[in-house]
Amino acid sequence: MRTLSSLQKRKVETESGRLLGRCHDLRGELTGSNLCVTGLCVGKNAWFQHLGVRSHDQHTVVPWEAVVRIEGKRIVVRDDATN
């Protein structure tokens, strides 16, 4: 079991080591009595984007299926994650 706070702020990198940014939020889908996680909200300036200084929709959403593993201080996603 993880917590949302433990996933936020982690670096998001592709398997080949490219840094996509930081995870500043999780995209979810609310259906009936279930809230499922569908993706990561990744952005360079995590704090600014969370504040909504730029429009909150401008960050990239990496679908959860593209997550390969979660380790240490980072989240590793597939190389083709942002396509």
Partner: protein, 408 residues
């Protein structure tokens, strides 16, 4: 017709409640030190508090949330915790200063010992807040504060050189002692735009159950009320300039400030001035202690508000009681109320950005505001004041150190 009557009453309460101990101390001292040269700062401060109060009121009316509720949601836990700690520290200092002011005016009226009057004042406030509704708390102290209008009368009666007064409204830098001048600019702005006012105003909106349809009326109330209330600050500076500058007196005591009215208007004027100060500073004490309780309760998610009654919001009630006791402790140490006021104002200036930035963010957020979000005027003014606040916040402590808290 009923609405207009209600609006008029609201405006009167806003005028009477405008001045607090920071305004009293800084405006009079500014007049006593620099004459009319700092008049131009007052309108800037007044417009600033109008702009941000209007935003807070709108946020409360549309989203049903007070500022601090929205702060934690919008800027995140860490920043909100920082804002909470800094606001509580500054709040407590301000509350102690206001309580000291109340005790001093009670002493001027009764001649009883200061420390007993501090206890009396605190117990009095505790009882009054416990039994009085939010609406009557605001109105009661607001109407009593209308006695402060005697300062406006005095200002006119003192027959200042109105050309000089007018020239004071043109922003300029003085040649003689610019650092002290800058210190007073900061102090005057800080006294006008204190953080506790916006926190209190927004929570007050939720207490009074404002809805979007109330926005227009509340906007009018704030604008007219604060503009007219601002004339009291002008009056204080004029009194300071005509009575004290001429005689080389530095008003270090509230009694001295009241004497500024006694000079042209005699014993009755003096009495009204002291009573006015009592209600204005007393009302400010209540606003301040509530602001401290609101912030803590809203950060933690507790039930809050005078409208819930102590039974409905026990932790909130205990919080404002504890804050009163802590502030009493500070005042009992014998620290000078005027000195404490200066420190409280300067420290709240430093905390201003952390207060105002979230307000601007939330007032623009469609999720909270729907179609009532900031228009171009609110955003334009909001941003201009934000820049001003940043500059002021950065220079406040250095200037305080350089001028030895205005004792230069």
């Amino acid at each position: 017709m009923n609405k207009i009557f209600g609006l008029a009453l609201g405006i009167l309460a806003a005028i009477g409640g405008f001045v607090d101990i920071g305004d009293l101390v800084f405006n009079t001292a500014a007049g006593a030190t620099f004459g009319y040269q700092l008049m131009w700062v007052i309108p800037i401060g007044v417009v600033g508090i109008i702009v941000y109060s209007e935003m807070c009121g709108r946020v409360a009316a549309v989203s049903g949330k007070a500022v601090f509720d929205a702060v934690r949601e919008r800027v995140g836990f860490k920043a909100a915790l920082g804002a909470l700690v800094s606001s509580e520290v500054v709040n407590l200092m301000t509350l102690a200063a206001e309580l000291g002011g109340v005790a001093i005016t009670l002493q001027l009226l009764s001649g009883l010992p200061y420390r007993w009057l501090i206890l009396f004042a605190v117990v009095g406030f505790a009882v009054i807040i416990w039994v009085t509704s939010f609406n009557w708390l605001e109105r009661g102290f607001g109407y009593g504060g209308l006695c402060m209008l005697v300062f406006a009368v005095a200002a006119v009666k003192l027959g200042p050189d109105w050309t000089k007064v007018g020239k004071g409204f043109i922003p300029h830098i003085t040649q003689n002692n610019p650092t002290l001048y800058a210190y007073f600019v900061i102090g005057l702005l800080g006294a006008a735009m204190t953080p506790y006012e916006v926190y209190f105003y927004s929570s007050g909106g939720v207490e009074e159950g404002w809805k979007p349809k109330d926005i227009g009326l509340n906007r009018a109330n704030a604008i007219v009320g604060y503009l007219l209330g601002g004339t009291l600050s002008l009056a204080l500076m004029i009194v300071g300039a005509t009575v004290f500058l001429g005689h080389g007196i530095a008003p270090q005591h509230l009694g001295t400030i009241a004497l500024g009215v006694g000079d042209p208007l005699g014993k009755i004027g003096l009495l009204l001035a002291i009573v006015g100060i009592l209600f204005a500073v007393g009302g400010a004490s209540i606003d301040t202690v509530f602001s401290g309780a609101y912030n803590l309760a809203q950060f933690c998610g507790w039930e809050w508000g005078r409208y819930r009654h102590p039974k409905g919001a026990p932790r909130f009630a205990v919080t404002w009681l504890v804050l009163l006791v802590l502030a009493m402790g500070i005042v009992m140490t014998g620290v000078d109320a005027v000195v404490l006021t200066e420190y409280a104002v300067i420290f709240s200036v430093v905390a201003l950005p952390l207060t105002y930035v979230p307000i601007l963010l939330v007032a623009n957020d469609k999720a909270y505001m729907g179609r009532y979000g900031n228009g171009r005027l609110a955003n334009g003014l909001g941003l201009v004041y934000l820049v001003l606040i940043m500059v002021v916040a950065l220079t406040a402590i250095p200037l305080m150190v350089l001028t030895n808290a205005g004792q230069n």
